[in-house]
Subunit: 118 residues, 4 copies
């Protein structure tokens, strides 16, 4: 990860946990659970909305959604630090894989997953 | 979001979707579902491991975990772009809130959530 | 839970785990993770479908969805057995609470959650 | 599904939704999201507990856990009704599949998933 916003944030998050003696709770297993719990909270904001409504949420709800997304990022960065995973590098690798699996001319406008093509 | 790795990644992800005519599927509602689905896959890697084992996964599993985390970051960035949310700024705001809710001297070594203190 | 289909299923699931010496992995924490992982797999079947398409899935996909739902029920029953919770009784209690929180004449056709009314 | 507790519960849940004019929101897609949101809430009760602590939660927390599990069952039954899926039959079919995939003498005490054996 380059020396930029994510690096700084990751380091601040570690410091936050250390000052509270919370690193003992931050096993990868527990952090994956916490991340998934926050993903569930994110879902709850959208579950009864139409797709169109989900694009036009009002300011209050948008603020809450932003904080759920922040929580997800926070646990994602904590987990990457605990497992020594370079998150941005992994994202670029995954994008390269997806370029191969979903050639633009083949999948254009098609929503199926790669395993559903054959 | 500062002009750095996340900004570049967000822009490349948008381009990836546009070239496949996939933006039509990327409503905030659908992206929240996709993110939560990936969080579920992340969980599956850790569900039968002890906390200690989850800290010491071997290289193959770590690679798979890195890709699940990459998928989560990818959907998180797509969602932030669709809703025009500055993810890193939101994370700093959320950390400031957490500093207030969980004063280091009060919660040291205690894992309860804020609402469980009273 | 009345002596019926769920009771029988719960008992068969326990037997399945005992014969494999898997009860050691079936802590409530781990079962909650496994359940949530399956819920994530369920999501993946629907994430790019419109709501209308989700009501009209074809036979193959319906079979897969049925198995994901079966997995969720399986972990739910295992968890209820480990924690000695009467799942059906809890569902009736929760419905009674919901009758109070969401009076039919007040919420008719409105999708907001109780905490969003004020 | 046999004519028993689940059948009755499913019918009462449908009635609850119809009286509120909520069936319009209960597409399979939306119900899968709601179920997954509740699974996330279940996780949150266990995320910082050790496995042993998760087996010994006190009465208050157990009541809350029971209600989260009730919510999951409720959405699972609503979804089975919308898709006309016999949930208990699917669970027995899935168990038969699992008996084949995980022969008791081969997997005894081993937590790996079927695809991790080779």
């Amino acid at each position: 990860m380059s020396k930029d916003s994510l690096t700084k944030l990751t380091s601040k998050l570690k410091d936050f946990a250390v000052r509270r003696d919370w690193e003992q709770f931050h096993s990868p297993k527990n952090l994956a659970m916490a991340l998934s719990g926050e993903a569930g909270e994110l879902l709850e904001h959208f579950q009864w909305l139409t797709e169109q409504q989900s694009q036009q949420i009002e300011a209050n709800k948008k603020q809450e959604v932003a904080y759920e997304m922040a929580d997800i990022l926070i646990y994602l960065l904590r987990l990457s630090e605990r497992l020594d995973i370079d998150l941005v590098a992994a994202a670029y690798e995954k994008m390269a894989i997806n370029e191969e699996r979903y050639p633009a001319d083949k999948v254009k406008g098609d929503f199926r997953r790669a395993e559903e093509y054959e």
